[in-house]
Symmetry: C2
């Protein structure tokens, strides 16, 4: 039976701190401080308690989870990928030789591991998501993790029918849902050490696991080719690229398209008081650097500016109009489950995550396909806009 750390017994907590500190190779004070500042919080999945690191603490990445079992098993968080603001300068500064240009997909980051003889899917933030876990078990060949229990599959879940990021990918069309899962890294689940591009492709091919294929291997001085790739991606409304050292020794770098910046802004300004203003600001600034670096003509620059402006103003006015009629700002998700039980499990998960939502509809559309429409409610946006519509001042 698992030790029960975290009863009300302080001695027991002290004991846990000593054990966890050894396990994670982090000093006790940092850990204790993490608890005090509520950067480490407790959750439960299928009756198993685990801790989630909400922020990076020393070398322990944000999103790391640690099970409160005898062995204090943990899965390290996915490392932050830094962003180039001026592509050419950053490429020249950080690479020297071959670069694997992979497409960056616009979905949500997931780590898949085997733990207690069970497959689980962990979100970037460090929650075990029952929806994603179910889909992974359904669509992915998880035998890989039986054979390599010390590894984790890191990838992007994409498509229209997930509860986090709705972006249509034609290649993710299935019989009734648009949902795809593409691995981009295979890493050690404790150390984050990654397989090289070649090893990764070889092994994933063997197990027939879908992965993000490099668009091209370029040399670090082929910047024009990189821009060609990005222009293509932009035209097809795709997110951008991750630039990788094929050996995975150097840290990858990311860079996103104009189309993505506009899409992000549209979402941000739809839920204008809920998404942080840092989110908006960073997208605007990226556009400044991109327009500069591309040496755009006056006409091209104005076109970009106009698209930016539309991404900001139009969704904002749409939301204000909606709230003037319906009093609430919401985002709709259409999800498919294998059964009503699975749907209820997911709803309970959303509740424990303190996400505010409303179920719009729920029904079996076939014997084993349960479809639900869930509206995520944006409270700050709803309340603040309603208040101004009522004449309250800033």
């Amino acid at each position: 039976m698992d030790k029960t750390y975290f009863s009300e017994d302080i001695l027991n907590f002290e004991e846990f701190i000593i054990d966890a500190s050894k396990k994670l190779n982090i000093d006790e004070d940092t850990l204790k401080n993490g608890f005090k500042r509520k950067l480490i919080t407790k959750y439960e999945y299928n009756g198993r308690k685990y801790l989630c690191f909400k922020k990076k603490l020393k070398h322990i990445e944000r999103g790391t989870i640690l099970f409160l079992n005898d062995n204090l098993d943990f899965i390290i968080g996915y490392p932050k990928i830094r962003r180039a603001m001026v592509l050419e300068s950053s490429v020249k500064k950080y690479f020297n030789g071959k670069i694997a240009v992979e497409e960056k997909l616009d979905g949500y980051n997931i780590r898949i591991v085997k733990m207690h003889d069970e497959i689980i899917a962990i979100t970037r933030g460090g929650k075990i998501c029952p929806f994603t876990t179910k889909k992974v078990k359904k669509y992915l060949n998880t035998k890989f993790l039986d054979d390599f229990p010390e590894l984790m599959l890191c990838g992007e879940m994409v498509g229209l029918n997930n509860p986090y990021v709705n972006h249509y990918y034609p290649e993710a069309d299935r019989t009734y849902e648009n949902l795809g899962f593409y691995i981009f890294d295979v890493r050690n689940k404790k150390t984050n050490l990654a397989l090289s591009i070649y090893e990764k492709e070889k092994i994933l091919d063997e197990y027939n696991i879908p992965y993000v294929k490099p668009i091209k291997i370029i040399d670090s001085n082929e910047i024009d080719e990189l821009w060609n790739i990005l222009d293509d991606l932009n035209e097809n409304h795709r997110e951008g690229v991750v630039l990788k050292d094929p050996e995975m020794i150097k840290n990858p770098i990311k860079y996103t398209t104009h189309s993505t910046q506009c899409g992000d802004l549209s979402i941000a300004f739809s839920y204008v008081y809920d998404l942080g203003i840092d989110f908006m600001f960073s997208r605007l600034v990226r556009e400044g650097y991109q327009s500069f670096e591309k040496c755009e003509s006056e006409e091209e620059r104005k076109k970009r500016a106009h698209e930016l402006g539309e991404s900001i103003l139009l969704p904002m006015v749409e939301t204000i109009t909606e709230i003037s009629k319906e009093s609430v700002a919401k985002e709709c998700f259409e999800l498919y489950f294998d059964s009503e039980e699975e749907f209820i499990e997911f709803i309970n998960y959303l509740k424990t995550m303190h996400i505010n939502f409303a179920v719009e509809s729920r029904e079996y559309i076939k014997k084993d396909i349960f479809k639900a429409k869930i509206n995520r409610i944006y409270n700050s946006t709803s309340d603040k806009i309603k208040s101004h519509l009522d004449g309250n001042l800033w």
Copy 2:
């Protein structure tokens, strides 16, 4: 001779707290806490020490100054004017009957008082500005303050040739400089109690002091007329309106034009890492409400969006380009002084205010006209953009 509060002597500080607390009618703990949190700081003007309240503390407005003299004379800060986001709703909620619609000028807020037999001009933030003080003495009939020493003249300093806000006003053209001063309120300097619109106009007319004339007195249900006024102001690139209860019993409300929002954004995105992102965000949000309230056509809405986008992107790219050539983001001010001595006094003032600047040129252009070009240096913008141009990641 003045008592010297604030020597290193703690007893003396305690004595000051007791006296100031009585004078300002604020509890001692709040005052002490204000010092501890550095919300109250000490400055000096012409050898006289004064305290400046950098934030509102209970009823003591931000920008209040208190002289460290025997009598602890103080001048209360100019009260915050709240903003309508949805004009019609706010007008209906806050007014009932006549509204004096005054133009809101785009300059900087100044309070002029007589203190120690001397005229001083105090900025919104609570600094005695030598530049403004000199101009006020030169251009304004200050006999008014001899006759009413308990009152303060609150107004806007506008025009191209001031060190704070450069916005051209044709009516502020003088022989060699564009600089105007328009009073909007006459208030008691301790209580902020304001004269009615009618009393104010009468008394300022008597002393021949220029003031902001009401554009129109409207009734609180004449919203269409208010929008006509705003549309006119917008076309002429003017800032907006302040709506006042003619008796000045109710608090005024402000509302600004699309043109102002765009102008503010242009400045914000020119010095993109120096001006707060709250500043940018608030301007963007205002545009959402305005576009909604005006029930714009798709074409009108797109035009607004395009102008917004241009106000964001074009200045940002211009600054990045400038920094890629000259390594520095700067804003140029052309100021005119009566003598080189006055110029040096002002430069010393900027230094004590910890404003980073460089003098580009300085010369007598006539016997008693000393012209200086001063560049305000934006350090965060310069450093951060330089760093990204060098390839450093986000």
